[in-house]
């Protein structure tokens, strides 16, 4: 059903474009052509902005700069070198695109530039560019007049020509914006929106995707700028490089719904018509106030926008008619036939792996071997470097020193998405699902990127298998918010497995679960190994460690303290000291490894000597 819809959507866009192309033939006054032109121009601007900002959540306030770059490219070519108008448009797109890529190549490299920082930065770029243009011969401070440039005869009148051009641009932009949402690229962008780090760890090349989205967005805005230059006929910096363009597109997209390809277009039509009706009635000032009011109301009462709200209403009405969307699947996961190599071979080897944070040594050079087919327990008190180890191996952190060899290839310093593709998957201790995507799509994303599947449809089918494996097949269509902690942990597992990794890093999957749930999870981890993956298991729940692991390594203060068979290692005095404190210490030294669900206020288990406590948990 969705596949059918997909083929209909582009046809509908093109069909609407073709129908609207007959409007000039109606012979309406030129004034209507111009109004329609403005609506279409804003559709192009808002929709192109949305490709980066709406899909990924990187709200750019620099759209005016890219639009302006297009305007001034076309204006300069026409006024100074007498280029024909249409020939300037590809160059306007190219210049804006190059500018966007240059900005993005710097900005996207710096971690932490998101939200308001990204908005401010891109706004500052707008003003810097404006200042440079007004002070150089490009503008010279007086503006550029295009009175001499000829308007090509595409329509019966010049205003019809502009209308038709804008119509073509809007059709193209909407096709691009829609097309992105149904591709792997789009799935990656939406994942970046919800949790960029998790997306990267799951194999989404976040940097490249953001840059590509920005490049497409800028090229479309630049082409629109080139077109608008001739429409304006006289361009000045003061009117181009302002805060008006970015704020208008933000407003339109938020009003319409920035997570949907058609949202910004709906917002553009509404706002342009509204402003026009106020201006036409000589209430331009009131129009300004009305736009402010709408912006406030939209954010406070409808933060998702008109379109998602309408779709939800429609969906609610149809509910019940829709049966399980997913195709029936046998619950047994098709065993990933990746365990071809003999068990016991070294799969992952770290040597002198170290990580410091501003001088604090989180990991001080550890050598760990993980053998194919085993479940390796990674133990140690809080702060001993277990999570740092996981973050290093999964590529989230860049090591300060040492090497990480996976299947014989050096991976230290590789980007996280490359490591994910290479066959390493991880879970997060506190589950980090993509909040705006269904449980099915969450898992499909991992299959799509980590698993290297070609398109979202295939990935969804693959994902159903893993949802069934984790026992979540009934929850496929709900949002992660509707899951309880136990289910979210299993969703983490399903996501990790959907990439068909050879190595799975499980970061405290049992933490916070009830005893019964722990039993479920232990059985699941065992099945993960049985279907071919190797597991590194970070855990505090000793019962599970003893039941599951083939070998354990113990970290303490960022160093490797012990290694060997679980029962033997846990009896070593240095391990007990590290875990439980000095045997002679008072009850205060009670293990912070006590069952994690225990509320902190509960008194530590009274009395037993550390060793007794340990053994009790073995049993």
């Amino acid at each position: 059903m969705t596949a059918l819809l997909r083929r209909r959507t582009p046809l509908a866009i093109v069909g609407a474009g073709v129908l609207l192309a007959f409007v000039p033939a109606l012979g309406l006054p030129a004034f209507y052509d111009s109004l329609l032109y403005l609506i279409l121009l804003w559709i192009v601007l808002a929709t192109s902005w949305n490709i980066l900002s709406g899909y990924t959540g990187y709200f750019s306030f620099g759209h005016g700069a890219f639009f302006g770059a297009g305007i001034y490219t076309s204006a300069t070519l026409m006024a100074r070198w007498d280029w024909p108008f249409l020939a300037t448009l590809p160059l306007a797109a190219a210049v804006a695109c190059a500018l966007g890529v240059a900005v993005g190549a710097v900005v996207f490299r710096v971690k932490g530039i998101r939200g308001e920082v990204f908005a401010l930065l891109t706004l500052a770029v707008t003003f810097v560019l404006g200042t440079i243009i007004v002070n150089t011969p490009i503008d010279g401070g007086n503006g550029v007049s295009l009175a001499a440039a000829a308007v090509p005869k595409l329509g019966p009148t010049p205003s019809a020509t502009f209308y038709l051009l804008a119509l073509a641009a809007a059709t193209l932009t909407l096709l691009v914006a829609w097309g992105i949402t149904v591709t792997k690229f789009g799935a990656g962008l939406f994942a970046i929106h919800d949790d960029e780090d998790a997306a990267e760890v799951m194999g989404v090349p976040t940097y490249r995707y953001k840059l590509l989205a920005l490049a497409i967005s800028c090229a479309l805005a630049g082409a629109a700028g080139g077109m608008h230059a001739l429409f304006l006929n006289y361009v000045t910096v003061g009117e181009v490089f302002t805060i008006t363009v970015p704020l208008s597109v933000v407003l339109m997209s938020i009003l319409g719904g920035s997570r949907h390809w058609a949202g910004p277009a709906i917002g553009a039509v509404a706002i342009t018509l509204l402003l026009y009706s106020f201006t036409a009635a000589n209430y331009a000032v009131a129009g300004k106030a009305a736009v402010g009011l709408i912006l406030i109301a939209a954010i406070l009462f409808m933060p998702e926008g008109i379109l998602p709200r309408l779709m939800r209403l429609l969906a609610a009405r149809r509910q019940g008619a829709v049966a399980a969307v997913a195709p029936a699947m046998e619950t047994t996961a098709t065993a990933a036939a990746t365990a071809t190599a003999p068990a016991g071979e070294v799969l992952l080897r770290t040597q002198s792996l170290a990580k410091s944070f501003r001088g604090v040594k989180a990991l001080a050079g550890v050598d760990v071997e993980v053998r194919r087919g085993e479940i390796l327990g990674l133990l140690g008190p809080n702060g001993s470097g277990k999570s740092t180890f996981i973050n290093l191996v999964s590529g989230h952190y860049v090591p300060t020193g040492g090497s990480i060899r996976f299947e014989g290839r050096e991976r230290a310093g590789s980007a996280a998405h490359r490591i994910a593709r290479a066959g390493i998957a991880r879970t997060y201790q506190i589950p980090r699902p993509f909040g705006h995507q269904t449980v099915l799509d969450n898992v499909a994303l991992a299959a799509l990127f980590g698993g290297g599947l070609p398109d979202p449809e295939t990935a969804r089918r693959e994902a159903m298998t893993w949802l069934a494996f984790a026992g979540l097949q009934d929850k496929a269509q709900v949002l992660p918010d509707a899951l309880n902690l136990h289910q979210r942990k299993f969703l983490e597992l399903a996501r990790a497995l959907a990439a068909r990794p050879r190595l799975v890093l499980l970061d405290e999957v049992l933490c916070g679960l009830t005893p019964a749930e722990i039993d479920d999870a232990v059985a699941l981890v065992r099945r993960i190994r049985d279907q071919g993956a190797t597991v590194v298991f970070v855990e505090h729940v000793m019962r599970a460690v003893m039941a599951l692991t083939d070998r354990v390594v113990v970290f303490d203060h960022g160093e490797l303290l012990a290694e060997g068979a679980p029962a033997e290692v846990m009896q070593r005095p240095e391990v007990m000291t590290a875990y439980l404190g000095q045997p002679l210490a008072g009850p205060d030294a009670a293990p912070d490894t006590a069952s994690p669900g225990t509320p902190p206020a509960a008194p530590p288990p009274a009395g037993p000597a550390p060793q007794a406590g340990l053994e009790a948990r073995h049993a």
Binding site: V110, G112, E116, L123, V128, N135, A289, G292, I299
Partner: protein, 288 residues
């Protein structure tokens, strides 16, 4: 960089001085923004609109014969209430910092429209006896309105700094900014404090507005002219710190004034925005 010339020593000194004065206004406008961003997690763009509204009110009352500085007795409390009300609204909806930027931008548009419908889009200049006073100190001119601005910026910045640093209220505010639920668990009346702070930020903006009216011509569209450079000062100084916006504002003001003296006035925005870009790229954590 066409038109690059070395200015005379007098011109340079006058530039630096006017940079200090305009920087003081940047600092005063930035003070409320920095506090509300850093301590309340709200990027209150409407403070610029409030400053201009206060400036126009001051202009209006001065036209009736009231001393411009005396108008603060009415204006500052009024804007305190306005700011607290705005905060109550935003707190009720629990909006994110980014959305607070958009909401207060919408409000700025509304205030701009109100100003334009009352006082028109024409430029207005407050005529007062203050503007007639200026002294010549060793070949440079020191105008009184600017001196008042500098004094106000210094007094208010140091006053806020002392309150934040030494009083229980200040400590409570800083604790709430760090972790509101934990602060509340320790008995801090977080909502009341936040209202108090939001009102203060707004009142500070109104003082900046009166200073603006004393020294500058007013037009509704000018609201946006201050946004970029004041943001630069706030980011340069770091969020939630009382003395930083003033210090950073003066740095930016002086660099702009010297740029104008050495090249052309139209190059001035390049300084503040390049600085802003550099800070954001090098220290993005400052705004987090």
């Amino acid at each position: 960089m066409s038109g690059f010339t070395w200015p005379s020593a007098t011109l340079l000194a006058q530039s630096v001085l006017s940079g200090v004065f305009v920087g003081a206004l940047y600092g005063l406008l930035g003070l409320g923004l920095s506090l509300s961003w850093g301590l309340l997690r709200q990027i209150n763009l409407a403070l610029f609109a409030f400053a201009f509204l206060a400036a126009y009110l001051c202009y209006q009352m001065a036209g009736l014969g009231v001393d411009p500085l005396a108008t603060l007795l009415v204006i500052a409390p009024a804007f305190f209430v306005l700011g607290a009300l705005l905060h109550a609204l935003m707190a009720h909806f629990a909006i994110t910092p980014f959305n607070s930027l958009l909401v207060t931008f919408g409000l700025t548009g509304i205030v701009e429209a109100i100003i334009q419908s009352i006082w028109t889009a024409d430029f207005r200049k407050l005529e007062s006896s203050y503007a007639e006073h200026r002294w010549k100190v060793a070949s440079v001119y020191v105008p009184l309105p600017e001196l008042i601005t500098l004094a106000a910026a210094l007094v208010l910045s140091f006053g806020v700094w002392a309150v934040l640093r030494y009083t229980d209220l200040g400590k409570a505010l800083r604790a709430s900014a760090e972790d509101a639920p934990i602060a509340a668990a320790f008995g801090i009346h977080e909502r009341r404090n936040a209202l108090l702070l939001a009102g203060t930020c707004s009142a500070l903006a109104s003082v900046a507005g009166v200073c603006l009216a004393l020294g500058f011509t007013l037009a509704p569209s000018q609201i946006y002219a201050w946004v970029g450079v004041v943001f630069a000062a706030v980011m340069l100084g770091g969020l939630g710190r009382a003395l930083a916006p003033l210090a950073a504002g003066i740095v930016i003001g002086v660099s702009e004034a010297v740029t104008m003296a050495v090249t052309a006035p139209s190059w001035a925005p390049l300084v503040s925005f390049t600085l802003l870009i550099a800070i954001l790229l090098l220290r993005p954590g400052r705004a987090a």
